[in-house]
Symmetry: C2
Subunit: 734 residues, 2 copies
């Protein structure tokens, strides 16, 4: 398949465009960066992927599917943290007003300089040649077309500078705007195309904003994820589920992200002009990388279809009743510890072992990782090009316990891996995260509950009293109140809402540093040892009303929890395990994985979608425009519809071979040919796409086979074992 040869993305993009899988939206208006339309093939493929997703997840586990609104009022996303934190830092070319994402710019420029250094060393046999620098970097690229290659883009760096760059890149996701500004000053980073000065980084929220109703007073955003709609309905869902735990909700829908991409107006204008870039030619290479990163399969789609599951689970028991069904599934794991050691080696391991060894935090998380693997491979994603990468501690949201991404290898480069996989990149292959699977703890339900005063908890009848140890925070009111004055109340609420894990960490910090830091309304506040005590206490769950408040991993202010008269009731905020699927990325990766060219002819593209997701299952091909074929095609088409087998009739005048090729490019697994023998004896030929082999049987037999092949209840191999091959097509008119 395609992996044996150098990957030719141009050829694939042409195919995708020609067979209208997708295309830039508003093309006749010049296009808008980040917006794509799915054509008939892409749309059918997407519908089949989603149908399989629904069967595999929703139906399989009786999940409660929701369809919630896209427009979301400000208050909801303020509470969830998106209004304050879902932002990137941008800076502006002070002369032409062009806008850059600050971290991307710093990363791209430093990467370019590092690559230049590497190339210089490589070109000169690892000797730093200052002349190279002098000769080749001051002139425009355009003049050098005849002496391109490595030497042209090579600029050597001092060893210390190189190390500083690498340290910055390793932490590139963690800088604040002012820090990025300081780096830009220190290393003289300018607007790459013009060399102009840049503004200081400013924050830009990534949500599309709008206002609801004619007064404009009710601010709204287009949702950045479907998750919030599911959290807000938690109470109704629990009730719908007859108060039974655990359970999962699910949602398929469009989400939005207003990306900082330069000149959002017209697509690709920027990248064409950059080819005539002058300053440091290396940046050319990296800017073209940004071009890739802004393409279809990347982060940067402004509008994308997600499929998300929120599995609500008891924080004290994250086992899963069906874990044993999947325990022997082997996953390619890339744990955080390996990455922290600067490596990307993959460890194949059963999910059972991964959970037992504590690499994957709990069985429910493990169950979903395995189920995600089974889903993706069923779609047609290649097993050896799929891995599960654990987030490193600094990547995760502060509330998350554990988080894994299912990453699929494709020709697109995941930006933040440029550094690690630079060699890889130049071979034009990379890993894109397509599914995230995070344990979000009780964060979301807790913040919405605090904000709305609506209890989002589970009440459980406790079988017998229990003695448990819990972390507990006590406030020294005498010091606390006077010190924080008006801020005291907000601060107190936040302190009392800490999770067990948070409390444990803060206890350690108090011990070591006599203080810990919390962020209130964007401001950092230091809490010292004389203001609070954090300690482990022993409590009995049954009979001790106060203890009930600390059972789950989030403790509450008393005011939120009126005590129930029955003390044997445990009340807790569920934790949430969230598998979240980026459907567009999966769809693109799948196309790459199933694409190949027939050996006899490189131009004969084939897309080997498994029948179950193929955009259309069957092509109907009358041998010619002869009138005797018309009623037969009509009848066959009718019968296929009755069996819910989607078909495309191709009665164009093109030769049958040409039409086969067309259908191969559409990824249609089966073709029925109607010829003169059909008119005589009612038989048709059935051709399979990958093998190009055919059988000839009666219409009735072929239709039954087609149904079973489309549902994947039988294989083509078994068909060939049962029925004789058909070789010669009768092409003459009788």
């Amino acid at each position: 398949m395609a992996t044996d040869k150098p990957f030719d993305r141009n050829a694939l993009e042409q195919l995708i465009n020609k067979r209208f899988f997708y295309a830039p939206a508003f093309g006749i208006y010049g296009g808008v960066a980040g917006l794509y339309d799915y054509g008939p093939t892409g749309c059918a493929l997407q519908a089949n992927i989603l149908a399989l997703w629904r069967n595999h997840f929703v139906l399989e586990e009786e999940m409660l599917e929701l369809d919630t609104t896209i427009m979301t009022p400000h208050d909801v996303l303020k509470t969830s943290g998106h209004v304050d934190k879902f932002a990137d830092w941008m800076c502006k070319d002070l002369k032409n007003g062009e806008i850059f994402r600050a971290d991307h710019l710093v990363e791209a420029v430093l990467e370019a300089r590092l690559q230049g250094d590497k190339d210089a060393r490589f070109a000169q046999g690892h000797v730093i040649e200052k002349e190279v620098d002098k000769d080749d970097t001051k002139e425009p690229v355009a003049k050098k077309t005849n002496k391109k290659k490595v030497r042209v883009v090579a600029v050597a760096l001092d060893a210390e500078v190189k190390q500083e760059y690498e340290e910055i890149l390793a932490k590139i996701d963690n800088y604040t705007g002012p820090e990025l500004g300081a780096i830009m000053h220190k290393y003289t980073i300018k607007s790459p195309e013009t060399g102009n000065d840049l503004s200081e980084p400013e924050e830009f929220n990534l949500m599309f904003q709008s206002s609801i109703g004619p007064t404009g007073q009710l601010k709204g955003y287009l949702r950045p994820e479907t998750a919030q709609g599911q959290f807000l309905n938690f109470k109704k869902l629990l009730e719908f589920n007859n108060d039974k735990m655990p359970f999962a909700s699910a949602s398929i829908g469009r989400s939005f992200r207003n990306e900082i991409s330069p000149r959002s107006g017209l697509l690709r204008v920027r990248y064409v002009s950059i080819a005539f870039n002058t300053c440091i030619p290396n940046e050319l290479v990296i800017c073209l990388t940004i071009l890739f990163a802004h393409s279809f399969a990347s982060h940067s789609n402004s509008e994308f279809t997600m499929a998300e599951i929120e599995h609500f689970v008891d924080p004290l028991n994250k086992d899963h009743v069906r874990f044993d069904d999947v325990k022997d599934v082997v996953l390619n794991l890339l744990p955080a510890s390996v990455q922290q050691a600067g490596k990307t080696d993959i460890t194949p391991m059963t999910i059972d072992e991964a959970v037992a060894k504590g690499i994957v935090d709990n069985k429910t998380l493990g169950y979903f990782l395995a189920r995600i693997y089974l889903f993706l491979t069923k779609l047609g994603i290649k097993k050896d090009r799929l891995r599960f990468r654990q987030h490193m501690p600094n990547e995760m949201a502060h509330y998350a316990c554990d988080c894994w991404d299912a990453e699929i290898q494709s020709s697109y480069v995941r930006r933040r891996f440029l550094l690690i996989c630079r060699d890889f990149f130049f071979a034009s292959l990379g890993w894109i995260e397509c599914v995230g699977c995070a344990d979000r703890s009780a964060y979301d339900l807790t913040v919405h509950s605090n904000r709305t005063k609506e209890k989002l908890v589970v009440r459980e009848q406790l079988p017998e009293p229990k003695v448990v140890e819990r972390w507990q925070l006590e406030i020294n009111k005498k010091v606390f109140g006077p010190k924080y004055k008006k801020q005291a109340k907000v601060l107190e609420e936040q302190l009392l809402a800490f999770s067990e894990q948070d409390l444990e960490r803060h206890a350690r910090e108090l011990e070591q540093n006599d203080k810990f830091v919390v962020t209130v309304d964007g401001e950092q506040v230091e809490i010292t040892r004389n203001e609070v005590t954090v300690q482990k206490v022993t409590v009995t769950e049954h009979g001790n009303e106060y203890a009930l408040l600390f059972v789950c991993n989030l403790s509450y202010n008393l005011a939120h929890h009126p005590i129930s008269p029955c003390c044997a009731v445990r009340e807790y905020t569920p934790n949430v395990i969230e598998p979240s699927f980026g459907i567009g990325r999966i769809l693109y990766s799948l196309i790459e994985h199933v694409w190949w060219a027939r050996e006899d002819d490189e131009n004969r593209n084939v897309l080997s979608f498994p029948a179950i997701v193929a955009p259309f299952k069957c092509a109907l091909l009358p041998l010619s425009g002869h009138t005797s074929f018309v009623p037969i095609v009509r009848d066959l088409s009718y019968k296929l519809r009755r069996l819910n087998i989607s078909s495309r009739t191709d009665d164009s005048k093109a030769a049958i071979g040409r039409r086969y090729s067309r259908n191969d490019e559409l990824g249609i697994p089966f073709a029925l040919t109607i010829d003169f023998q059909t008119v005589q004896d009612g038989t048709v030929t059935l051709r399979e796409r990958d093998t190009t082999k055919q059988i000839r049987q009666s219409v009735e037999v072929v239709l039954q086979l087609l149904r079973d092949l489309s549902d994947e209840t039988i294989t083509w191999t078994s068909v060939l074992e049962k029925y004789p091959l058909f070789v010669a097509q009768e092409v003459d008119e009788q």
Copy 2:
């Protein structure tokens, strides 16, 4: 069923809420008017409706389905006319700032006054009693609860006033803002709740606005319909279809409409307060009508799922190749002519006859009306509560040839029919348009083509020359240029883009009035007889290059059409027939149509969804929590999933009868009960929802039956004929 008794919407709304079909979105935040979330039942029901839609329309006719973006740049919607015309007039209470949609307010107030008049006459035996007016209108409603009924809300009107009101209401959709303002002054219409003065009507665009990218320079809107995305892809679609005409594209997706509803923030606040309204008590009734109009099933959802088809057709041949398949389908028609005579009588007629008589404009339109009928009735919409209403000339867009709405009768009142159906309204039943089916002519493709200079046409090889008569407009450049100066070019383009119909009309106007009026950039310009000539000319299509430009119903400026060297090619802009489905309205209406209560117990609600759309197909009910049932339920659940039959397991401790009731309310057509006999002999009982009858057979037999019943390939009646009834459930533990 429900229609026999007075319709109790409260009861239905409780059911919908309890079984979580849908609920106001952001409920725990107080809700936002016009935004709803679908719960697990509603979401599954919607998914099944959409799956059926895809099978019935897309698969059946090999339509080209697209999935296009929601975010749409300003230019596109400026061209389509939405930026300028997709607006309503609003006015403001000058003291409290409350906002009203001006036409709704005028309509509501005048309706209220007319109803008051009618009630007064009815109450007083058709005698106008001025005392009634005096007695009953000055006091608050709240004080009158004990002498409510008709007299309370009755205010008689003078005969001339009454007639004026009725004339205004008949034309209520056609007034401009200033005209509405004049009416409000003349008839002293004030803010209904407060009696305060109102501002002059101002225009408010109904699209949600946002901006794309960080500069904020690229204005965007959330699409108000999916149609534009389909038009913009026309060229790619035609190519995908191997240049074959006619063909249809289709799209399912979310659309948006920023409705003028008072206090968009919190739901229903306004309507509760209005119950204490004082001024004219009648307005209470009508304001409550507006409450209905703002509910789920109405126009006023800000976010809604649409399914739209754009069938592209040769304007000179609007026949449909499959028309004969549906020609005998009988539809309940309400033609424009009947409505213009002030009646609402329905004429049942075959679609063949309707087209033959010219009631329905053409066969393609007729074909789709019949297909819409077949779709809706297959879903479970009752045939006698479904009608097809033709738009009256003043309702249609100026470019539309013909337009029909499929209207479904439900308890919700369609606002603009209050006048016609007032008696109807008080019986609390009305018609809502759920599907529109319009012939949009070549309007959309033409305007986008003009704006982008991209040719959106079909090129057809002409078989032989033809002599045809066409309307032609010629500009007297000597007069025209000097008079219009800078405006001349824009004006000329517009004049040369007129359709045949427009030209014919303008020729008539020139003859009668020596002038006609065109609107350029919102300004009205009078074109007089000495500036242009409009006349009929005879042209030969083949061999006469110029003539080619006038073949289709939209003529072009020469500059847009470089002449092809082969003169026997016809180039035309296709017309578009657009069936457009409001999925939320269909879903709500369906729930009303299938809702009834068992005769023995009014509280035993049943939703008799046909199996094919029922949210879940099968309930799995273990008789009790006995451990021996657990593996059987698990195995059955697994087998059902393998057959793609969606099931819900209800293993709660509720009695089996209670659980049957619960499943009736969820509309689950079949239930399998696992009891102690199952453990012994592997048989289960299969119960059908509507009849409550049961059979008892082996698991294997029952699963096969379930599959065929779910696909609707067999009926329950045929099952009962084949298998004996099962009566006594074995409930004792063995």
